[in-house]
């Protein structure tokens, strides 16, 4: 169905004016009444026993109102139910430099800082484990003895599909390399901040810069040991997350505990250094990968051995361990896949989820090896990839259900527009062009907390004045979900965006949404908003029928489309929920221009009349919409990892200039084909892809956290190098048409998938430019130069 009013039009985000004008309030901007200022004392040791924490001198300082230590928290927490290993504050031992040990709430920030200096902590340093390879060896005292292991292994996953060895044996080309990836962090703009208001009945309102208000809500109740109904979580405007705010955090628990202890409002904000210390960024990774290729069959096998350094606690790490392997199943057909993936604990700030979660580093290895194989086999790197891209409506080796795939046409168009055939292998020394592809989940099909509730629920109301309000727990972290929610409702109800308000991310007012992670929100909350609006549309059409004295439409349940791909006998949410697949309203009415028009007779009533008639009986006009994933995947341990209702697909063609004397790499142009189904908001999609390119450029060329004896030595934006605007290349977005049956108006994700392939595309372009294969990321100029000199000497 085409001819949309709102969907597909480049739309500035509905809060953009407030943000540009400085009116948007971020967490730390919210003026609570007379708050206490909180500050956190952090461990100077990577590994130590805490013998004693003496807060008496700090408590005696005038203006100090509250002090908490590890003794104030009995329960540990973690975003994953399966690894709740993190204390809000260190108890009897510290596991990384910067771990919270005590916190103070005082009348001013100055007093709080002075009080921290008066807290005396006696530590007994113990041997720190900083090297992930050493972490695999037996130690006297593991970081987490509760796991019952004699080493610091956190999670180990081994899976095998098909027969990779047979695949390699029959392959004309087999390539293998060892890769290493530095630790990188999200570098979002707004530092972590939390404010907690407490009322006379001891109820907490928690304002926090979080991607996951619902998970924070639950974790906080558990850690504070108070009922969930006493906590209200509000996510104000948020200045970027990229996965760095997708866990419940210790500082949030600390602020709430201080509020309960002092019965006062609490204000807590991080310095940039504290953001780096809290980290939760991409796991530093070493991996060895072997790939077999046959020009007739494509990829004949992949075997990967992956070691990821998790830092001190679990976070999303179990998922990361799986993703490093299972996300190798696309975007190409692979029958034979084996991987062994291990995550270890070390005495460093913890790693977690970061944009492209778990898929970025193995994607680099696979795309570089594939490029080597294609070159060796004499196959064009673009054409060779195109021939192997998943066909629509197929299953992967581990039974991922692949539905829509628009990448083939997209990459073909990218080849034409970038002039690939005229450039590849033909540019002068120092100039190069390279390609890489990727795919990514559009939300996780499996819930972190096992329950049968929908992944996203939206409530929708219309008031007597005709204003539509969408209530959703979804967390806009800058990606523009508030705008998408409004667009869904406006499109279905035939009103302008100015007639839709969104009330979002407030656990008192909005139904549950699981949060902004796994690229799930546009797909899932977007569907929920669309479905709520379709239900509302039916109420309005029924009211219009009354006014026009017509019988109401029958609204027969539509059949799934002919090409709908079922896995087994499983069916999508809407088949059990009477709302049709992409939108066929089935009502014979048109809602537009303030009129509800009966298409058969051409007669119409004003929209407002229909609203008021619909309000006559119930007095309130309210509907809901949900999204839940169909049941997917195989029946074996670990089958749920990486399952998604649908997947996005991306290809990048990148052109670079390599300076052979200095090793500097300049990315001149990035041509991107990204299959996100229908582009609901092309402006937001462009923003996401440009952002992915910028972020990918950082990891590819310069970003790297440096540790010295376990301390983050470049905890600031002067020494942790993220690219400046000067480094951003020209970007060409190529139309990549596809239509996702199950997505809202045909949409899939666009926020994460485009990140992973830009990095190997740069590497492959460097190879085309100067003939070197780099296996260490970031591909710093000194590494490029060393490889060039080595190649020249050989």
């Amino acid at each position: 169905m085409s001819g949309y009013n709102i969907v597909g039009k480049p739309t500035p985000q509905i809060d953009s004016r407030d943000k540009v004008m400085g009116r948007a309030r971020f967490t730390d901007d919210i003026p609570l009444h007379n708050p206490l200022h909180a500050a956190i004392l952090r461990s100077p040791f990577a590994s130590a026993r805490i013998l004693k924490v003496d807060t008496s001198r700090a408590a005696a300082l005038p203006g100090v109102r509250g002090i908490v230590t590890g003794a104030d928290f009995r329960r540990t927490f973690g975003v994953l139910v399966i690894s709740k290993d993190e204390p809000a504050m260190a108890g009897n031992r510290v596991r990384y430099i910067g771990e919270p040990v005590a916190a103070v709430a005082a009348e001013t920030a100055e007093i709080a800082a002075a009080a921290l200096a008066l807290i005396e902590v006696s530590y007994e340093p113990t041997e720190a484990c900083l090297d992930p390879r050493v972490a695999l060896k037996p130690v006297a005292e593991p970081l987490h003895p509760g796991l019952g292991r004699d080493n610091n292994l956190h999670k180990r996953v081994e899976q095998c599909y098909g027969d990779p060895d047979a695949g390699f044996a029959a392959s004309p080309v087999v390539v293998e390399k060892r890769f290493s990836f530095a630790s990188v962090t999200h570098a979002f703009t707004e530092p972590h901040a939390t404010q907690v208001a407490i009322d006379g009945r001891g109820n907490l309102t928690v304002y926090s810069a979080t991607q996951v208000p619902h998970y924070l809500h639950m974790a906080m109740a558990e850690v504070l040991e108070i009922p969930e109904h006493r906590i209200r979580v509000i996510k104000p405007h948020l200045g970027g997350g990229f996965g760095g705010k997708s866990d419940p955090f210790p500082h949030e628990m600390i602020a709430a505990r201080l509020a309960l202890q002092t019965n006062r409002n609490i204000r807590l904000r991080f310095s940039r250094e504290e953001v780096f210390i809290s980290h939760h960024g991409r796991h530093p990774t070493t991996l060895t990968m072997k790939l077999g290729y046959d020009p007739q069959q494509g990829i004949t096998g992949i075997d990967a051995d992956i070691l990821i350094d998790g830092g001190a606690y679990g976070s999303f790490g179990v998922v990361t361990t799986y993703y490093n392997g299972v996300l190798l199943q696309g975007p190409y057909r692979i029958e034979n896949l084996r991987f062994r993936s291990r995550r270890v604990y070390t005495n460093k700030p913890m790693c977690g989820a970061m944009r492209g979660h778990g898929g970025v580093n193995p994607r680099f290895a696979a795309e570089v090896l594939l490029d080597m194989a294609l070159v060796q086999a004499g196959v064009d790197p673009c054409q060779g990839r195109i021939d192997m891209i998943h066909r629509p409506n197929t299953l992967t080796a581990s039974e991922f259900r692949i539905t829509s795939v628009g990448l083939k046409a997209g990459l073909e168009e990218a080849m034409r527009r970038s002039g690939w055939n005229e450039k590849y292998g033909k540019l002068p020394y120092g100039k190069g062009i390279g390609v890489a592809c990727g795919f990514y989940i559009s939300g996780s099909a499996a819930h972190i907390h096992r329950n049968d509730r929908p992944s996203s629920t939206v409530r929708l109301t219309i008031e007597f004045d005709g204003m539509v309000t969408v209530y959703s727990g979804a967390a806009d972290i800058g990606q523009g979900i508030d705008t998408i929610l409004a667009m869904m409702a406006a499109e279905v109800l035939g009103v302008g965006l100015d007639q839709v308000k969104v009330v979002v991310a407030d656990t008192q007012l909005t139904p549950v949404d699981l949060g902004s992670y796994s690229s799930r929100v546009t797909f899932m909350a977007g569907n929920a908003s669309r479905n709520a609006a379709i239900r509302m549309r039916r109420l309005l059409v029924a009211a219009a029928c009354q006014l026009l004295e017509l019988p109401p439409p029958a609204w027969e349940k539509p059949e799934p489309p002919a090409d709908y791909f079922r896995q087994g006998r499983r069916s999508p949410d809407y088949s059990s929920d009477y709302l049709g697949p992409n939108p066929d309203y089935n009502d014979g009415f048109r809602l537009a221009n303030g009129q509800v028009t009966h298409l058969g007779s051409g007669r119409s009533v004003p929209y407002l009349d229909a609203v008021r008639r619909a309000l006559d009986g119930p007095g309130i006009l309210q509907t809901h919409g949900t999204y839940r994933s169909p049941k997917l995947g195989g029946n074996y341990k670990g089958a749920a990892a990486g399952l998604s209702p649908t997947y996005s697909f991306t290809a990048f063609i990148v052109e670079v200039t390599v300076d052979p004397e200095t090793g500097f790499v300049k990315v001149d142009k990035a041509t991107c084909a990204h299959d996100c189904g229908t582009m609901l908001n092309p402006l937001a999609v462009r923003g996401q892809i440009e952002g992915c390119i910028h972020m990918g450029l950082g990891q590819a060329l310069m970003e790297e956290i440096v540790h010295y004896d376990g301390a983050v030595q470049n905890a600031g934006f002067l020494e942790y190098k993220i690219p400046s605007a000067f480094e951003q290349p020209e970007v060409d977005l190529v139309p990549t048409p596809s239509d996702e049956t199950e997505g809202p108006f045909g949409a899939k994700e666009a926020g994460e998938g485009p990140l992973a392939p830009i990095i190997p595309a740069i590497a492959n372009a460097i190879h085309d430019a100067v003939g070197i294969r780099l296996t260490e990321v970031p591909m710093r100029p000194d590494r490029v130069l060393a490889a060039i000199r080595k190649a020249g000497a050989a």
Partner: protein
């Protein structure tokens, strides 16, 4: 975590006589004071508690020290308080000393150049990844010499009293160009002033960095007319903005009236504790490439370069010759 400034008295003398009087008084009273012009280098040090003055003296009321003029003898006289952005935009500077405008334009970012001054850039504190850190980070590692400790994390065998005591590296972008231009500093103290050639200004130590005396400030930078001298500056940095030089190379060529090169000069920043500067005469009929090779070899031996930067030490050293050759190409040699 605390990123607030600690308390200090604030003085903002209005004019040069008031500044001279204030500095004299503070010296007499033995107060611990810091002088700020743009403050772009000082503020992070204050926040990180690397300096803790009792009195902060702002130069921003001393209008006499801002401005650019050409004197009768052709000397370009630049007030120490001249903002880098004004230097970049100055027709006089672009006309007389384009390399200085270019080097000033490579400092940090436009916002910082709007605030930072030429005097401040000449005095920008030497940097070290073990010193320019928060109090928390500095508690983790044993305190080093520069923060009144007893170790150097770069040269572990260093002992107190041995020079250079501190290996924190020199990072001014403008100093190498001004060295090749044979600039002089006019230093003000009490009621007096003295002139010091820039080449005698810096010392080989990351802590005792220069010959500026307590209470002394840079008043003006004087650049004599540079007949036949052309200078080029380029820096090695990860990004095209924001970064201090991992290596900065200024190259000068002096020619006679007929355009024949007479002298090749090189100055370096970003490597050691102070800037290096060498001049190589080009004798009649001498092979230019031999002189260039000699200049590269000399510069390459300049400093013991330590691993304290984004780029490994070997790479930075390798780049010296590359940068010299590239500058020479731009200078048409």
């Amino acid at each position: 975590m605390n990123t607030q400034l600690s308390g200090f008295e604030f003085e903002r003398p209005a004019g040069l006589p008031a500044l001279r009087a204030l500095l004299t008084r503070l010296g007499r009273e033995q107060r611990r004071f810091a002088v700020a012009a743009g403050g772009t280098d000082l503020m992070p040090q204050l926040k990180q508690r690397l300096v803790a003055p009792e009195v902060l003296v702002s130069l921003n009321g001393v209008g006499e020290l801002a401005g650019i003029a050409v004197q009768d003898d052709g000397t370009l006289r630049i007030g120490a308080l001249t903002r880098l952005a004004d230097l970049v935009d100055s027709t006089l500077v672009r006309q007389h000393q384009p390399a200085l405008a270019a080097a000033a334009g490579r400092v940090a970012s436009p916002q910082i150049r709007n605030r930072a001054t030429l005097g401040g850039n000449l005095l920008v504190n030497n940097r070290c990844i073990y010193v320019n850190q928060s109090p928390l980070n500095r508690t983790v590692h044993a305190p080093c010499f520069k923060v009144d400790g007893d170790v150097c994390h770069i040269v572990k065998s260093a002992v107190r009293g041995q020079l250079p005591q501190c290996q924190a590296r020199f990072v001014s972008d403008t100093a190498p160009v001004l060295l090749l231009l044979e600039a002089r500093l006019v230093l003000l103290r009490g009621r007096g002033e003295r002139r010091v050639p820039l080449r005698r200004f810096y010392r080989n130590d990351g802590m005792e960095r220069n010959v500026l005396r307590p209470g002394e400030v840079i008043g003006w930078i004087e650049i004599p007319p540079a007949t036949g001298l052309q200078v080029d500056y380029d820096k090695l940095a990860v990004r095209n903005a924001l970064d201090f030089p991992s290596l900065g190379v200024a190259v000068g060529v002096r020619r006679d009236a007929a355009g024949q090169p007479l002298e090749l000069s090189v100055a370096l920043t970003g490597l050691g504790t102070h800037p290096g500067c060498w001049r190589h005469a080009i004798a009649d009929g001498a092979s230019l490439s031999k002189v260039v090779a000699k200049a590269c070899a000399r510069a390459g031996k300049f400093a013991t370069t330590y691993q304290q930067d984004f780029f490994p030490r070997d790479y930075r050293k390798k780049m010296i010759g590359v940068f010299i050759h590239r500058s020479l190409r731009r200078l048409g040699v």
